[in-house]
């Protein structure tokens, strides 16, 4: 893992022109915003949840999505903002054991939740089997949708195992089968514009086989 030295991506020292403190109005959780002017001040709310096994406590503008909380406040930038509207899947995280679009949920709604992001699955040098399979099968190109694809992949295999049906499940009352058709349908909420789909299915099939 020395391809980039110590991940030296040529950061440049820059001098920040002003301090980083923000001018937010802090209100208690139960307080209600002044009615109605659209330029009303932000409402801050405390929230605490577990991210990748670590308890995190934040004071957040209520408008902050889970995605932005994790990216902009915790600086875990693996989950990506591809559309911010639930139309691409790049922001997929596993919350309470289920994959969700982290762009379409508010951080303050996740008090005490257990959140896994791509960073929680594995690290360079200690990859999760699904991450390793993506490398082996070239299940990516630009890499931007990849964290979401991998979080989804891990969750999809669990969903099939749990017998959750899908649009292509032939018999709703029989045991759900692990087929490439099932994988493709279930992964369809993760768009890859580079078109690595065929390879992603190969990676998942290999991991599923190993699990099975």
């Amino acid at each position: 893992m020395t391809q980039f030295g110590e991940l030296d991506f040529n950061r440049r020292e820059v001098v920040a022109g002003a301090s980083a403190c923000t001018a937010l109005t802090i209100l208690p959780l139960t307080a209600r915003a002044e009615a109605a002017t659209v330029g009303s001040p932000p409402v801050l709310s405390p929230v605490a949840f577990t991210v990748n096994g670590e308890r995190r406590e934040l004071q957040l503008d209520t408008r902050t999505t889970l995605l932005d909380a994790v990216r902009e406040h915790l600086h875990l930038t693996g989950a990506k903002k591809g559309c911010d509207h639930g139309q691409c899947g790049a922001c997929t995280m596993i919350v309470g054991g289920r994959r969700i679009n982290s762009c379409l949920t508010l951080a303050v709604m996740h008090q005490d939740d257990d959140i896994t992001t791509i960073e929680g699955l594995g690290k360079p040098g200690a990859l999760h089997p699904m991450q390793a399979a993506f490398v082996k099968h070239d299940g990516y190109q630009c890499g931007f949708c990849t964290p979401g694809q991998i979080c989804s992949s891990v969750a999809v295999l669990a969903e099939i195992e749990a017998g959750i049906p899908s649009h292509v499940t032939v018999d709703l009352t029989a045991k759900t089968e692990l087929t490439t058709i099932e994988i493709r349908e279930r992964m369809s909420g993760n768009i890859c514009r580079c078109g690595a789909y065929s390879n992603i299915v190969d990676a998942m099939t290999e991991v599923a086989g190993r699990q099975g």
């Binding site: 030295g5 022109g17 923000t22 930038t77 040098g125 190109q141 949708c145």
Partner: protein
């Protein structure tokens, strides 16, 4: 290093590292979410403000007034950038419409303001409070309606009009004739990573972390737009979340982040929102294409003509959809014409295989239709009209041309002989099944490309070049090139890309990146080898670099012994392109099912056979091709920026409205690379495949739909509503 004579044997030919299906060296970072894309930088010294772009609510007109009072007073707002605060801006060489509008509005969602605030949430909320009054003007938004006013336009080296022999006469007397009009829609790059930038000023020096395919060009355009000296700009773009041409230039995020940071006195980060991107940035123009083919009854083409109309902002380029028709098939009477109509839609610009991709969507359907009229198998018809020389200049051969081999090999592998030529005959349950074929063709462009290579005292080799990896596998093939040249294993190579402080490269575009940039690394490595042999006292002519050792005769020394050395060079291509036509070829085979009741179309099997010179890394090259095939399926079946011709904008401006293929649309894809090395192309003897894979693919899908149903749809995308009424069982 000048490249002006065909390459002889060189260290790359050892193929110890090059040509191996190596995993991507940056892969572990991508799969763990630790590869930093533009908006991901969280340098502790950067505490950026957030910028949110306000796009124009009209397509054409003038801003009559802007009221920023409420927005400025909104919580957290630091500053607002508008044309007024920005002062006069230049226009980049690779931009047609200004990146910041006002008072004139050039297109819908053109940026008219950037609201800069302490948080993203505050910037977004305040952006909604910017009040803009427009004097809306009437515009031209309909390519078909503006077709008559289109003007002849050249693109790159292709003249606006070409004529060989006497097309009209030959076509007029041809025994079998086809004359049809085809249309392709406006298409969006829709790369997964929105355009994003973080800009930071240190005095009068600007650093921008961004997502960009062409670093040096883009630095030049920043300089031109902001009117500042080139040495004061640094652009950093080590990871790019897809580009497909959409990031060949700077867009509004770069300039607005820079202006916002200057105005605020603090770094500013800006990402275009997805609903803004489709109209704010560029797209592939829609085309209207008229194709005429005349042939003898034995299938010999005697006349071939291709005309294309596309649209763009005034001063913008045409799509270039006729270029491949000058070269793909034989025929002694030929004509092409390229015209562009002035439209007030957002700016059109290059998208993956500009010209060829939509050009072949039409041409390769026309060729299929022609084969049908001749009663010939479409594979055989293409083979019959193959040419090994430039049909316009027969003295100019193709350096390599394996179209026939690709067609034959693909037909064999795909089971083409089982195809039922009469359409609408094959049924599999609810599906009508058909097979389609199309030729793939994309020219090989070569670009000057530089690199710097360092040998460390530890024997590590570090390559630095401003080349970019847009998902193409560039990190890995550059590493492979350096490893092969310096006789080390790949883990002894560090590759650093995408920084304007590195030597200027070809950048990524036009399928030239892999071949050109690795050739630049080859040149720098050749120079480093010289320096090493000199330092170690070897005769450079017979020195062998192998296993981290340098050997000459029976003398052998560790490479690391040479100590720290740096070499920089660039590859410069001269002359061979005039003597030889360099192109890449392939063949697409597709099987589709069309639902007999609803006409839903699903692709069942896909195969591409490609000949693109030496394949530097078969694993990442194959990924390039399957990705391009996937985009080809999108172009065939679903992708269309739908124009509201009254209000002048792309209506479906998000990823729910602009449909691109999802997992469920794509079957297992087969890719075969034919053996090919092309010493005319470069010392790497490579070409490219990233755009070849999309070329012809959509037509193969269209031809398969025809074979399944007997219905010819000449207007892409081929959606079920265009088939429904004519389906065989539709009575």
């Amino acid at each position: 290093m000048k490249f002006d004579t065909p390459a002889g044997r060189n260290p790359i030919d050892q193929l110890k590292v090059i040509g191996k299906p190596t995993d991507r060296i940056e892969g572990p970072y991508k799969v763990t979410g630790t590869a930093p894309y533009a908006y991901d930088w969280h340098d502790p010294t950067l505490t950026p403000l957030y910028g949110f772009v306000v796009g124009s609510g009209v397509a054409k007109g003038r801003i009559a007034g802007m009221d920023l009072t409420t927005a400025k007073a909104a919580p957290g707002v630091v500053t607002i950038v508008t044309a007024e605060t920005a002062g006069p801006l230049g226009l980049g060489q690779f931009n047609t419409a200004p990146l910041l509008g006002g008072p004139e509005v050039a297109h819908y969602h053109q940026a008219v303001a950037l609201v800069v605030a302490e948080s993203f949430e505050q910037a977004r909320a305040a952006a909604a409070l910017v009040r803009v009054d427009y004097d809306e003007a009437k515009g031209a938004f309909d390519l078909a309606a503006s077709r008559g006013s289109a003007k002849a336009a050249k693109i790159q080296t292709n003249p606006a009009e070409t004529a060989i022999g006497n097309f009209e006469a030959a076509f007029g007397k041809a025994a079998v004739r086809l004359e049809e009009t085809y249309t392709t829609p406006n298409e969006a790059h829709a790369m997964m990573e929105p355009h994003a930038s973080i800009a930071s000023w240190e005095g009068d020096a600007l650093t921008v972390w961004t997502s960009n395919q062409m670093i040096d060009r883009s630095v030049s355009d920043i300089v031109k737009t902001l009117k500042m000296p080139k040495e004061k700009v640094r652009l950093i773009s080590p990871f790019i979340g897809g580009g497909f041409g959409g990031k060949l230039w700077i867009r509004s995020d770069v300039i607005l982040a820079a202006l916002g940071a200057r105005q605020a006195g603090r770094p500013v980060k800006v990402a275009l929102t997805r609903p803004l991107m489709f109209n704010n940035t560029v797209h592939r123009s829609g085309t209207i294409q008229r194709i005429r083919i005349g042939a003898d009854t034995d299938g010999t083409i005697i006349a071939i003509g291709h005309e294309s109309w596309s649209g763009n902002q005034v001063g913008g380029r045409p799509e270039g959809a006729v270029a491949q028709t000058r070269l793909l098939y034989a025929g002694s009477n030929r004509m092409t014409a390229e015209r562009v109509a002035a439209l007030d839609l957002p700016e059109s610009n290059a998208m993956r295989a500009p010209g060829e991709a939509p050009g072949l969507m039409a041409l390769e359907m026309a060729v299929d239709e022609m084969a049908d009229r001749l009663g010939m198998d479409p594979v055989q018809f293409r083979i019959k009209n193959d040419t090994q020389v430039d049909p316009e200049k027969p003295e100019r051969p193709f350096s390599q041309r394996q179209l026939v081999a690709a067609l034959r090999d693909g037909a064999e592998r795909f089971g083409w002989s089982k195809r039922v030529a009469t359409p609408g005959q094959v049924r599999d349950g609810r599906w009508r099944v058909g097979l389609g074929v199309a030729a793939a063709f994309r020219n090989n462009q070569v670009m000057k490309s530089g690199a710097r290579v360092r040998l460390g005292a530890d024997g590590m080799v570090t390559v630095e070049t401003d080349m970019t990896d847009i998902g193409t596998g560039t990190y890995t093939i550059i590493g492979q090139t350096a490893a092969e040249m310096m006789g080390v294993t790949l883990d002894k190579v560090v590759v650093r890309l995408g920084d304007s402080s590195f030597p200027i490269s070809s950048g990524s575009g036009g399928q030239w990146g892999a071949n050109s940039s690795t050739s630049g690394v080859y040149a720098a490595c050749a120079k480093l080898r010289e320096a090493v042999t000199q330092k170690l006292g070897f005769n450079s002519d017979d020195a062998v670099f192998e296993d981290s050792q340098v050997r000459s005769g029976n003398r052998s020394l560790p490479l690391a012994e040479a100590g720290e050395l740096v070499a920089e060079d660039a590859i410069e291509f001269e002359g061979l392109a005039n003597k030889y036509q360099q192109s890449t070829f392939g063949a697409h085979f597709v099987e589709v099912g069309v639902d007999a009741a609803t006409a839903e179309i699903r692709v069942r099997r896909m195969l591409a056979v490609c000949a693109g010179g030496r394949i530097l890394n078969p694993k990442s090259a194959r990924s390039q091709v399957i990705g391009a095939m996937t985009m080809g399926v999108g172009a065939a079946l679903m992708e269309e920026l739908v124009v509201d011709k009254t209000r002048g904008f792309f209506v479906n401006h998000d990823l729910a409205g602009y449909e691109v293929p999802v997992h469920a649309d794509i079957p297992h894809q087969e890719v075969i690379f034919l053996d090919e090395v092309d010493p005319i192309s470069s010392p790497m003897k490579a070409k490219g495949v990233g755009e070849l894979g999309i070329c012809g693919c959509a037509a193969a899908v269209a031809n398969a739909i025809y074979n399944a149903t007997g219905i010819r749809v000449r207007d892409y995308p081929i959606t079920l509503d265009k088939l429904l009424e004519r389906m065989p069982d539709a009575a």
